[in-house]
């Protein structure tokens, strides 16, 4: 254990905790405002912090300068073996930055009005046109670069010798940097002088919640058990934070052993491998750094072991509060979580049989090589999802705290930050459960066709397209993919919460023991038979299965791209408000130009 690896571990812990807490805060906000977000709204969020315009400008400029530096400078260095690929990346990235900046500017100007001629010129085109135009340029550039790479393959060295590639890479990087800088500068120029109100779409309310809860009076019922009453919130918070440790947030980073001491040192940290091996393992002599806080080979078992202790917090809280409703809540929590723990463990067994490991990194890698867990084990996914929602005590399984039945359940008597810990712990658990779902069933940090050494669109043995990517680029993509998927899963769970009614207590138990459990067992049986059959089958079957797996990857990729396109075009849809002013007050407000446009139609 060197100092460098200690520092790396510390950074990882920090990232995990910050991510959990931030996401917890954001999902509190999501949860509280999902209803409102799906509906039409009037007026801005009230929570506001006034900041001097100088500070705002600094916040805009400093990251922009850093990003620009990180984009521009390394692009001028050469990386042997990657020239064409790097140029492709750089060009495509520059195009992305270009159209995206124009799009944001255009939609912003269209909403808030133009300040100058440049604004008007940009806003004369619809935001969607920039999007479609950008896509077209992407494809065009890709084709062009494909031709270039074909040329360079036919006459090796001609392009690199002329310096064209190096210039192309560097210039594209510089262009992207320049656009980022210019955008930041333009934005900061638009910041009005004096105090600027920062609202951050209402997320400040979550911040206010936290600050308020810390300084709120802490009450303890007279007959409560002093020790247990105080311990319970910590016990409830603990598992959610700790279990995240084994979730890999990205592929293993490979550092070059510069000083040849076979241990990670600070010098080595500056030298990330240029590109990684296709297998995902670091080459001999390189130093691997796993992107999980603790890369345990019993990963999943650890998760189950620790997550099981979450029951204790709820049960103790319910018992120690000296309140009948709390006791009911504690009892419900205990029985529910114990029951669903079984179904949860069994539902995942099928996947483990297929993958053949409980090591999280291995599970993710297997999905990357073959197909995502949801395609391999669809039944297990739904069983696991149900069990997981039950474990995190959320709607439709929120009996332990069902508001209309037992008021607030096991944490009924808690106030102040103790209640805050339950609150936060629940949301942290919620984020963790999303991360676990992503890891087990949605390929973890993997993106379809992104191998550790680059982009490769292939079906079975036929390669359609190949593009080498640097190790850093792949790693960034992976980390981004992991967090992105986790956020999407969190959002989906919030949707579930707002849509479904809750079960009755006995129905819940029946579901757990008579539906989920047998289904999980049958799933194990069927999986076992299939795994045995496939293991003994001919290579042709294996090749066929691999192709099938690649088809699922293609489907995912296609679906993902379509979803992103639909999302962006949906967001950029010009708002059309059909308004029927029925009442005189609405009509009056309309004439006075009073209310902000709402879709509500009245």
């Amino acid at each position: 254990m060197t100092w460098a690896s200690l520092v790396v571990s510390f950074v990882k812990v920090l990232v995990v905790v910050l991510f959990l807490l931030n996401m917890a805060a954001i999902s509190v906000w999501l949860d509280r405002r999902q209803s409102a977000m799906l509906q039409d709204r009037v007026g801005p969020n009230r929570a506001v912090v006034y900041v001097g315009s100088g500070l705002v400008k600094m916040f805009l400029m400093v990251p922009a300068v850093l990003i620009a530096g990180a984009l521009a400078v390394p692009m001028w260095t050469s990386m042997p073996g990657l020239e064409i690929a790097r140029m492709t990346q750089a060009v495509e990235f520059a195009i992305l930055v270009g159209w995206f900046s124009l799009l944001v500017l255009s939609s912003n100007v269209r909403r808030h009005g133009a300040d100058n001629g440049f604004d008007e010129a940009v806003a004369s085109l619809e935001p969607r046109s920039y999007f479609y135009g950008g896509l077209a340029v992407h494809v065009f550039a890709a084709l062009l670069l494909q031709v270039a790479s074909a040329l360079s393959r036919s006459a090796p060295g001609s392009l690199s010798a002329s310096g064209g590639v190096a210039w192309g890479t560097g210039l594209s990087g510089s262009f992207a940097a320049a656009v980022v800088l210019a955008s930041a500068f333009y934005a900061s120029a638009k910041v009005p002088d004096g105090k600027v109100g920062i609202r951050l779409a209402g997320t400040l309310h979550a911040v206010a919640d936290a600050i308020k809860l810390i300084w709120k009076e802490d009450l303890r019922p007279k007959n409560a058990d002093k020790l247990l009453y105080a311990m319970a919130p910590l016990l409830a918070m603990f598992p959610a934070l700790v279990t995240f440790a084994v979730i890999p947030m990205g592929s293993t980073l490979c550092f070059q052993d510069v000083d040849k001491n076979h241990a990670l040192s600070f010098v080595d940290l500056g030298h990330l491998a240029n590109f990684a091996d296709r297998s995902g393992f670091c080459a001999v002599g390189q130093l691997p750094v796993s992107l999980a806080v603790a890369d345990l080979n019993v990963g999943l078992l650890y998760v189950f072991a620790i997550a099981g202790t979450g029951i204790i917090g709820a049960a103790i809280a319910g018992w120690a509060s000296d309140n009948k409703w709390a006791l009911l809540g504690g009892l419900r929590a205990t029985s529910q979580m114990v029951s669903y723990e079984v179904a949860m463990g069994l539902s995942i067994t099928g996947l483990l049989m297929v993958v053949g490991s409980v090591h999280m990194q291995e599970i993710v890698n297997w999905q990357g090589r073959h197909a995502w867990g949801i395609f391999v084990q669809p039944v297990a996914f739904f069983l696991f999802l149900a069990a997981l929602v039950a474990e995190t005590k959320r709607v439709p399984f929120d009996q332990p705290e069902g508001e209309s039945e037992i008021i607030a359940g096991y944490f009924l008597e808690y106030s102040g930050m103790k209640f805050g810990l339950f609150f936060l712990g629940e949301y942290a658990e919620f984020v963790f459960s999303s991360a676990l779902l992503v890891t087990l069933f949605f390929g973890g940090y993997h993106l379809p066709f992104v191998d550790p050494d680059g982009l490769r669109i292939s079906f079975g043995a036929t390669n359609l397209y190949e593009l080498k990517l640097s190790h850093l680029a792949v790693s960034l993509l992976h980390i981004g993919a992991f967090f992105g998927k986790t956020i999407v899963m969190t959002w989906l769970q919030v949707f579930i919460r707002w849509t479904l009614p809750r079960f009755r207590y006995d129905q819940l138990m029946k579901l757990g023991w008579t539906k989920l459990l047998p289904a999980a067992l049958i799933n194990i049986l069927v999986t076992g038979v299939l795994v045995l059959g496939i293991d003994g089958a001919s290579p042709a079957v294996h090749a066929g299965l691999q192709t099938l797996a690649d088809v699922t990857q293609a489907l995912v990729a296609l679906g993902g791209v379509l979803a992103v396109v639909a999302l962006i075009t949906g967001l950029l849809e010009p708002t059309k408000h059909k308004r029927v002013a029925l009442s005189s007050s609405a009509g009056y407000a309309l004439r006075a130009g009073g209310v902000k446009a709402t879709k509500m139609g009245a």
Binding site: R41, K216, S415, M600
Partner: protein, 199 residues
Amino acid sequence: MTASQTYVFDGSEQGFATTRFEDLLNWAQKYSLFQYPFVTACCAMEFMALASPRFDMARFGAEAPRFSPRQADLLWVVGTISQRQAPILKTVYDQMADPKYVLAFGTCASCGGFYDNYTTLAGIDKVIPVDVYVPGCPPRPESVIDGLLLLQDKIQRGDRTPGIVKPRTDPRVVASQLATGHSTDVAHAQLVELRTSKP
């Protein structure tokens, strides 16, 4: 303690750090008002409207309901409180953790309204202190939002004296009435002017 006093540095018993800290605390409190809806009567209909999309209480940070008084900051007393209900209201209030605020929603909660008889409590201020009174039977959501803003303002200033939502008249309406020259309207406008101006 008012806003103007809080920035005095020399000779003040409040240091700069405490003042800023209290500002921060007040800021957090006013934008995170977990509500305990003590909903009994007709005003519940408007309370629903207030919480639902058109009037959207969420953007004030005051929408999260906590049905355990321990976890709530703002007690909404919505509707008539009968003598039979009064002890329960008082218990709920006593169970709340500090800092706690009370908003009397509607005339019945504020002063009993036209239910002036053997069974009703003539205003919840007879049993618990009230921070903001919102008159109306039931009040329109807009005036409740006014009350909420008033409460937030008072929290920021650290002012715990009771406040009341004054009737509002749209200045444009008053201007048009003045232009048409109805004398009663002018008198009304003057009255409004009197009531809304600060002493």
